[in-house]
């Protein structure tokens, strides 16, 4: 697989050099890369899903290491892993079902009731796909027995596969192709989802923006542009305050877009946010990533906006596509999930060079310039998340995330032993 290798290195380089901007683009590219990796992956006859998962994890590890801050990469890798597991399980249950039917008809070596084993397989599928939650706890199968059932299932399926292998190798081949095919189909769907998530979010715009609303936003995000424009296209009239979002000044591009659509737009400096927020009805911002606790990794400056909004009881609404949902919990998010950009955006080196005399003194430079890219907004400051599946509370995010990711994949880094 030399060509996939080349693809992966190419993508890695782009990530390392921060050539890819925006989590949506990154997510899409990651998904496409993984799709081509899957399609070119040669699968062994046994434990195909395991092999596929292993391969994807290896690549995912590299990808996340290349740009640890861009959590969208990790999210997509986890999504793909989840898809593989899901497809595998559904195939297995289907095959077990078929097998048990077979066993009923002509084979009598299995003394288990096949129907029971199918049921156990289904339950195991549910439990493996779902992290422990209240619902699983309340279900009648306790975790131990579920795990045992899963193990039994695995064993039986592999043994069944073994036994089957001897007899029906052609069927086996078709099954491996089927797994790959299904996974690729599902990844295609994921890519489709990522492409359309903005539209899905934007569709909800009119439900959240009323006539004459005054909206504040900081910086810019593709989601926010589409959201506001969608509301405008549906003839809603409202005004927007745009904080410019220094040092990247993406607010200026947003203002340009909005003005081009004829929206009343006021550009303010970031420092005027507190002064203006008392006259604003709603804050709508994009996010870089949404963590499992409902906290948001957002473009720098948004924590300030969120605090001001809380002070004046202004709803703080975060728009996030599903590819931004991250199953991790933030620990020390200011430092670990952040990235320091070039100081040249803040200070012109030539301008200050005369007072940076490194030759003299203690040796440690007197002047530091800090230019972080992201802010962490704790969940208590967020009023609402709008994702492509609808609006959610911050406290609900963990559950939403559990739908999309498998608990086994939270840690992408492979232990040296495995």
């Amino acid at each position: 697989m030399p060509d996939t290798h080349a693809l992966v290195t190419d993508f890695l380089n782009k990530l390392k050099k921060r050539k890819i901007e925006g989590s949506k683009a990154t997510a899409k590219l990651t998904a496409e890369l993984l799709r081509s990796v899957i399609s070119q992956q040669r699968l062994p006859n046994t434990n195909q899903a395991g092999a596929l998962i292993h391969a994807i994890k290896a690549i995912g590890d590299q990808l996340t290491a290349a740009n640890p801050v861009e959590v969208a990469v990790g999210n997509i890798v986890r999504r793909v892993l989840h898809i593989i597991r899901e497809e595998d399980v559904s195939l297995t249950t289907a095959s077990i079902g078929g097998l048990s039917l077979q066993g009923l008809s002509d084979d009598d070596e299995d003394d288990d009731n096949p129907l029971v084993s199918a049921a156990a397989a289904a339950a195991a599928a549910r439990t493996t796909l779902r992290p422990p939650s209240l619902q699983t706890l309340l279900e009648d199968i306790p975790p131990h027995s579920a795990a045992a059932a899963a193990a039994a299932l695995h064993h039986s399926s592999s043994s069944a596969g073994d036994s089957e292998d001897k007899t029906k190798s052609t069927d086996k081949n078709s099954r491996s192709r089927k797994l790959k095919h299904n996974v690729i189909e599902a990844v295609n769907e994921l890519i489709q989802d990522i492409a359309t998530c903005h539209e899905l979010i934007a569709e909800q715009a009119v439900e959240h923006i009323h006539h004459n609303e005054v909206i504040l936003t900081l910086g810019s995000s593709g989601t926010v542009i589409e959201f506001l424009c969608a509301a405008k296209e549906k003839k809603r009239s409202f005004r927007v305050f745009v904080a410019e979002g220094a040092p990247r000044y993406q607010g200026h591009t947003l203002a340009k877009e909005l003005v081009a659509r004829g929206l009343q737009t006021t550009v303010i400096t970031d420092s005027a946010v507190f002064a203006m927020i008392s006259r604003v009805n709603m804050v709508i911002v994009g996010a870089h990533a949404v963590m499992a606790n409902g906290g948001v990794i957002a473009p720098v400056g948004l924590n300030m906006v969120a605090l001001a909004a809380q002070r004046h009881a202004v709803p703080f609404v975060v728009l996030a596509g599903i590819h931004k949902l991250c199953p991790l919990y933030p620990h020390n998010p200011e430092v670990l999930l952040n990235e320091l950009k070039s100081p040249s955006e803040l200070l012109d080196f030539g301008e200050m060079s005369d007072c940076m005399d490194f030759g003299s003194g203690t040796g440690s430079p007197l002047l530091h310039v800090v230019n972080p890219a992201f802010d962490y907004v704790p969940p208590k400051l967020v009023s609402l998340f709008i994702t492509d599946t609808g609006g959610h509370n911050p406290s609900y995010m963990y559950r939403l995330i559990a739908d999309y990711y498998s608990a086994d994949d939270l840690v992408l880094q492979q232990r040296p032993t495995s």
């Binding site: 203002a255 737009t265 006021t266 420092s271 203006m276 300030m304 002047l367």
Partner: protein
């Protein structure tokens, strides 16, 4: 009822109503009749007055055109003897005793703290620096009484009290008289004068009334000798003054008023094309057209002293910024102009000088709206001029004023900063990480002094567009060898975790404890508060103000909108360049914001370290002590 006091109590509301209503002329004309109906009330219960400024915005009864045209009409009708002060006054009776007073003693009106306030307070720049009326007159009279008993100096405040009685007489004598003829009025004045002289001769009054009357009579005589000329002068002056001084809190959302203001403006003011709806009440003029126009007109501006002109240009160009620097520059310009001042023939020094100062102030306002510190300083200068003893010669007066202004600069600004530094240095300890926002002169001094003391600390300088004043501070601090970290305001949440103290400067501290300061200060204080970092505000007490304000919108200053669309030093960021004319795009460049008092842990002033709740106390004591006493 004392007309002067009355007028002041009437004007007070206008001045204090800063952010709300009260355009210049209206409140002058409107509240007068109202108070004339119940003059003794406002006189007898001064405490009642204090309510009025805040609670009652002057009713919008009179349409503006009436007011402006009325003096003209009156003037042409009444010819020489036209009612000078009361001329724009709808009620004849009030006009009457106004006129009478001004004839009698032209310098009266500027006498005493409250004396001229009817007129002068109205011209006060940043508005509302006046004391609550209840404090003023009382403390005044007592103080002046004491001084007079000893020193036999002509004390003008004195007359406030004295005259109140007298004019009540007047009022009762001719209640609501219809327009009196010139002769009638003259006769009346004569009668009054005689009566007063008699009273004085009787010498039965208390010491203070006696001396007061002596003064007034003496002055009256002077006045009457040159009465007609004087009156004319006064008349002109009034008109001039009315023209010259735009109200500090003019309503810029009133089109007619803006038109009028523009007509009399020295500086050419073009309105910004796309004004922000929320801020229509504030002036939003195009910045770039001002400077060239002023430069062209340099030789045409006779009314403005070159020193003041220079300072105004520098304000306009942004060379001088920061409350202290602007204030000192202005005071020094005033000093220069006072040095070059000579009283024109047939004019009284006090009045003419005040008028001059007023015209300078209005010029400065046109260049850039005054800061609160400047407003307070102007108030100080005017009160000093008004309080000048009449016995002094012109050169003596000038010397006194110059030295008093120097004292103000030294004591209130320079020494105050030193005291603040001494206090604040105690709050800096080794290993601290101090955060400051923008560039505050007081904070800079604190940092430098702490460094000199050998304390080891690190400084985080937070900056924001469009002014990026922090860069200058950064350069100066790094030049002194202080370790600095420079961030933009957006990164404040990131950097705040390593900070141990936040030092902020302030443009003013308002009586409800809110801090009026460079825009962005509130954000910094808010994040510091959220992270549990103490916020220390450093502000000289002369910048305190009794006004209260809840949001940053009612009263603010709007900077040049073009500064928003252009990003200095980043040519690649020019998305807004070609659409700046689009009418749905508005650029808002706020200059100040308001930090709620609960974000402020402590305010360091020259009176010590106080919680924000103690600000009103300082405001009151400070006013009593420094502005209004002799």
């Amino acid at each position: 009822m004392d007309p002067r006091r009355q007028s002041r109590t009437v004007i007070d509301p206008k001045v204090r109503q800063v952010g709300f209503f009260a355009p210049p002329d209206r409140s002058q004309s409107v509240p007068l009749p109202q108070s004339s109906t119940s003059p003794p009330l406002s006189d007898l219960s001064p405490s009642g007055n204090s309510l009025s400024p805040v609670m009652i915005p002057p009713p919008r009864t009179l349409p503006p055109p009436n007011r402006l045209s009325s003096p003209l009409n009156r003037f042409s009708g009444d010819s020489v003897n036209a009612v000078p002060v009361g001329s724009y006054n709808p009620s004849p009776s009030v006009g009457d005793f106004f006129e009478e007073k001004s004839v009698r003693s032209p310098d009266r009106r500027r006498s005493g703290g409250g004396g001229g306030s009817g007129k002068f307070a109205s011209s006060l720049p940043a508005g509302g620096f006046e004391m609550p009326p209840e404090v003023k007159p009382k403390s005044l009279t007592t103080v002046s009484v004491v001084s007079k008993l000893q020193g036999n100096v002509t004390d003008v405040d004195e007359k406030v009290g004295e005259q109140s009685g007298e004019s009540q007489d007047v009022n009762s004598k001719q209640p609501l008289k219809e327009k009196t003829s010139k002769a009638e009025r003259r006769a009346l004045q004569e009668a009054q004068r005689a009566a007063k002289a008699a009273a004085k001769a009787g010498g039965n009054a208390v010491a203070n009334t006696k001396t007061g009357k002596a003064n007034s009579v003496q002055k009256k005589d002077n006045a009457s000798s040159i009465a007609p000329a004087e009156k004319r002068v006064v008349d002109h002056k009034d008109k001039d003054r009315k023209k010259d001084v735009p109200h500090p809190r003019m309503q810029f959302d009133d089109a007619t008023r803006v038109e009028k203001a523009k007509k009399r403006a020295v500086v050419k003011q073009t309105e910004v094309r796309n004004r922000v709806e929320l801020f229509r009440h504030l002036p939003q003029f195009e910045h770039k057209t001002k400077l060239p126009h002023l430069e062209i007109n340099f030789f045409g501006l006779n009314s403005v002293h070159p020193a003041v002109y220079k300072v105004g240009l520098r304000y306009l160009a942004g060379d001088i910024s920061g409350g202290n620097a602007r204030c000192i520059a202005m005071l020094q310009a005033f000093q220069e102009s006072i040095m070059d001042y000579s009283t024109p023939p047939e004019r009284a020094l006090n009045r003419d000088l005040t008028a001059k100062i007023n015209s300078y102030v209005s010029f400065l306002i046109e260049c850039r709206p005054l800061s609160i510190s400047m407003g307070n300083a102007i108030k100080f200068v005017k009160s000093r001029i008004a309080n000048l003893p009449l016995t002094l010669s012109e050169s003596e007066v000038k010397a006194t004023l110059l030295s008093e202004i120097s004292t103000f600069i030294n004591e209130k600004i320079i020494l105050a900063d030193k005291v603040i530094v001494r206090h604040a240095v105690m709050k800096v300890s080794d290993g601290d990480v101090l955060l400051t926002y923008g560039s505050s002169s007081a904070v800079e001094m604190i940092l430098l002094h702490s460094h000199e003391l050998g304390k080891r600390f690190r400084v985080v300088i937070v900056d924001s567009r469009p002014k990026l004043e922090g860069r200058l501070l950064l350069r100066r601090l790094v030049g002194k060898g202080i370790s600095c970290t420079y961030v933009h305001i957006n990164a404040i949440s990131y950097i705040m975790h390593e900070v141990t103290r936040v030092f902020l400067g302030a443009s003013s501290v308002l009586a409800n404890g809110t801090v009026y300061s460079r825009v962005g200060t509130a954000c910094v204080a808010m994040v510091a508060n959220a992270c549990g970092v103490p916020v220390i505000v450093c502000c000289e007490a002369y910048k305190f103000h009794e006004r209260v304000q809840l949001d940053s919108i009612c009263c603010n200053e709007l900077g040049d909108p073009d500064a928003i669309s252009k990003v200095h030093g980043r040519e690649e960021v020019n998305y807004l360049k070609d659409i700046a004319d689009n009418e749905s795009l508005q650029l808002l460049n706020l200059t100040y914001d308001l930090t709620p008092s609960d974000y402020v842990s402590m305010i360091i002033t020259d009176y010590g370290m106080i919680p924000p709740t103690s600000v009103p106390v300082i405001v009151r004591e400070f006013r009593k002590e420094h502005i209004w006493s002799g």
